[in-house]
């Protein structure tokens, strides 16, 4: 299959790059001095695109590649791909669900514990020598607190399973109620936020879920409430989040994603009641390898006319 041209949109782990290069002719978009020219130069031969959570294909790019057959995304989030255009043109789209559920759920719980029990703030306290002068202040218990999950998909369910082991009552908001779970359903995010103490964003980013956590929701969560975002930055109205935290209208936040990564609002840097991570939800050796195997596996299946492993479109 060495004659197949695959357009890679951004650098990824070397394991994935190597596996792609072994099988295909990989064209690295980020090395081009001028991206749209590069695409034009290769438009007659590119049959596949490999993107990730932050780099997809918009309508313009898809239109510029008449021989495009498949887009294999190294992510579970597909908000950067124009899925409608792909459907119109019969272009297949694959992604990497399931292999990363545990990872992201682990981090969600890690963020909850870090915010509620002030793990990072305590660690700073010890390293600065302050413990010699006095004890750290009291924090608040995690076990037993009500956890509200926005989006009870694969990741949301994995979070719920873990939180249950901490005796946390679970409630959720989802596009549709899930009658086969025992968790309490709320028909709106606002009601969910009013009835939980820890609100976790775990849904996919779509036009409907953009800024699903807005000022109203944050006020409902309240001065003792904690917001955890392991979804996408645009799920949360970021300027409103910053002012809610600075003004004390929101009790705390654990964030792995932001509206304009890698930019993070600097007003958050001095707050003790936030924990800030650089979008590392799936950033483990094991999971990135499993994701890469899926990306390559899907391409191989497509080009040997076999059923795709994890198709979305």
């Amino acid at each position: 299959m060495e004659s197949i041209d695959v357009l890679m949109l951004c650098p990824m782990i070397s394991y994935l790059e190597q596996e792609l290069q072994r099988r295909y002719n990989v064209l690295k978009l980020w090395t081009a001095p001028e991206k749209s020219q590069f695409i034009k130069d290769h438009s007659a031969t590119i049959r596949a695109i490999v993107g990730d959570g932050g780099h997809g294909a918009d309508a313009e790019m898809i239109e510029a590649l008449p021989r495009l057959e498949i887009l294999s995304s190294n992510s579970v989030g597909v908000d950067k791909i124009d899925l409608k255009k792909c459907r119109e043109k019969g272009i297949r789209v694959t992604y990497t669900p399931d292999v990363l559920n545990d990872e992201v759920a682990d981090l969600a719980i890690g963020l909850i514990l870090a915010v509620l029990r002030r793990l990072c703030a305590s660690d700073r306290y010890v390293r600065s020598g302050k413990w010699k002068k006095g004890d750290f202040k009291l924090t608040t218990k995690f076990t037993g607190k009500t956890v509200g999950i926005i989006g009870l998909g694969r990741i949301g369910m994995a979070i719920a399973k873990r939180a249950e082991a901490f005796n946390c009552p679970i409630c959720y908001f989802s596009r549709t109620e899930k009658p086969d779970t025992k968790y309490k359903y709320y028909p709106s995010v606002l009601e969910l936020a009013s009835n939980c103490q820890i609100l976790v964003v775990a849904c996919s980013l779509t036009a409907e879920s953009r800024h699903i956590v807005n000022r109203e929701v944050m006020n409902a969560l309240g001065p003792k409430g904690v917001l955890i975002n392991i979804g996408r930055g645009p799920h949360v109205d970021e300027p409103e989040l910053v002012s809610a935290l600075v003004e004390g209208r929101l009790g705390g936040a654990g964030l792995d994603v932001y509206e304009h990564e890698p930019e993070v609002p600097e007003e958050l840097f001095s707050l003790e009641n936030v924990v800030l991570l650089p979008h590392v939800g799936t950033a483990t050796v094991e999971t990135r390898k499993a994701m890469a195997d899926l990306v390559v596996g899907n391409l191989e299946a497509h080009f040997s006319n076999k059923p795709l492993l994890t198709p979305l479109v």
Binding site: I13, D102, E103, A105, D106, L107, I109, G110, L111, L113, A114, R117, R118, L119, C120, S122, D123, Y125, V126, R127, W131, K132, D135, F136, L138, T139, T140, K141, F142, T143, G144, K161, R162, E164, A165, F166, N167, E261, P262, E263, V264, F269, V275, L276, L277, P278, H279, V280, A283, T284, V285, E286, T287, R288
Partner: protein
């Protein structure tokens, strides 16, 4: 009961202090400039001691208080109380089991997640503005890691329950095997350390468990292994721990306790693979109030000649 004199050994909780003041004649050990001064004024009136993890009741103190009837410890750990002397003299001892189990187990989980997924290091990375320069590196996956617990008591079992929800196989070493659990038992701590990836110290501190985690155990855990201590600092040979971490013979550590609190070996401050907390395992508002209530209830029961709630001796 305000004619009954109760000695509080060190500042531990404003709430507890007020509750004691309301009910008894409260004497505060730390307000005396010298031991002689203290003993001169109080040795014949003190009928109860409220101690904690810093200052309990050693032989000297017990021997100098002839009217002492009960030691009610604001802790579950009893290593600061001379239990044998209390037994000899018919002095009752109570502690605060159960009410703090969840909080300590939560911190153990928080430390595991924070060390494996580098939560505090990532938070520093973001706050130092390093993210725009490049992504954080990959860590290892937590879910599914083998967790070995030293001491499968209340706290050890609570940790096991939580870790199981992350798909972690559980093994343990304990004074006696617990056939009612389906966790894998090892009859010695070396075998446990060889067979797990994360070793958690959750047993009581006694003469037998002093330095139970020594150089040999640390080497058995190895360069990919992680040590979590939510027990007592003296469970671990601290200088050996420090050199193992500095030399890379141990993969990482999450520590809430140290041999000479509040002193923490400064060589640890420059390490990214450790998370350091200032003995805050049970330091939440909810739990400290519950602990204080238990101390008070035990004292009241004693002086009303009712059964003690949580007696140890």
């Amino acid at each position: 009961m305000d004619s009954i004199t109760v000695l509080m050994t060190s500042p531990m909780s404003d709430y507890l202090e007020n509750q004691l003041k309301d009910r008894f004649n409260l004497v505060k050990l730390w307000t005396y400039s010298s031991k002689t001064d203290f003993f001169k004024h109080n040795s014949h009136s003190i009928r109860a001691i409220v101690g904690n993890t810093k200052i309990g009741a050693d032989a000297e103190l017990i021997d100098s208080l002839p009217e002492l009837e009960i030691v009610s410890s604001y802790s579950v750990g009893l290593d600061k109380i001379d239990l044998r002397k209390c037994q000899e003299k018919g002095i009752r001892v109570t502690n605060t089991p159960d009410v703090l189990t969840d909080d300590v187990a939560d911190v153990a989980m928080g430390l595991m997640l924070a060390v494996v997924r580098r939560v505090c290091e990532c938070d520093r990375f973001v706050r130092r503005g390093l993210w725009p320069k490049g992504d954080f590196r990959l860590t290892n996956k937590f879910s599914g890691m083998q967790v070995g617990i030293v001491g499968l008591g209340r706290i050890g079992s609570a940790i096991a329950k939580r870790a199981e929800a992350f798909g972690c196989p559980i093994s343990y070493y304990s004074r006696s095997e617990k056939p009612e659990t389906n966790y894998k038992y090892f009859s010695n701590i070396i075998d446990l350390a060889v067979n797990c990836q994360i070793l958690v110290v959750a047993c009581a501190l006694t003469e037998e468990t002093h330095h139970i985690v020594n150089r040999e155990v640390i080497d058995a855990l190895g360069p990919e292994g992680i040590l979590i201590n939510i027990g007592r600092g003296s469970h671990i040979d601290e200088p050996e721990l420090v050199s193992a971490l500095l030399e890379g013979r141990l993969g990482g550590a999450g520590l809430d306790v140290f041999e000479n609190e509040p002193e923490v070996p400064e060589q640890l401050f420059g390490l990214e693979n450790v998370v350091l907390m200032p003995h805050v395992g049970s330091d939440t508002v909810e739990t400290t109030d519950a602990m204080a209530d238990l101390v008070i209830k035990n004292l009241e029961a004693h002086f009303l000649k009712k059964p003690l709630l949580t007696p140890v001796v």
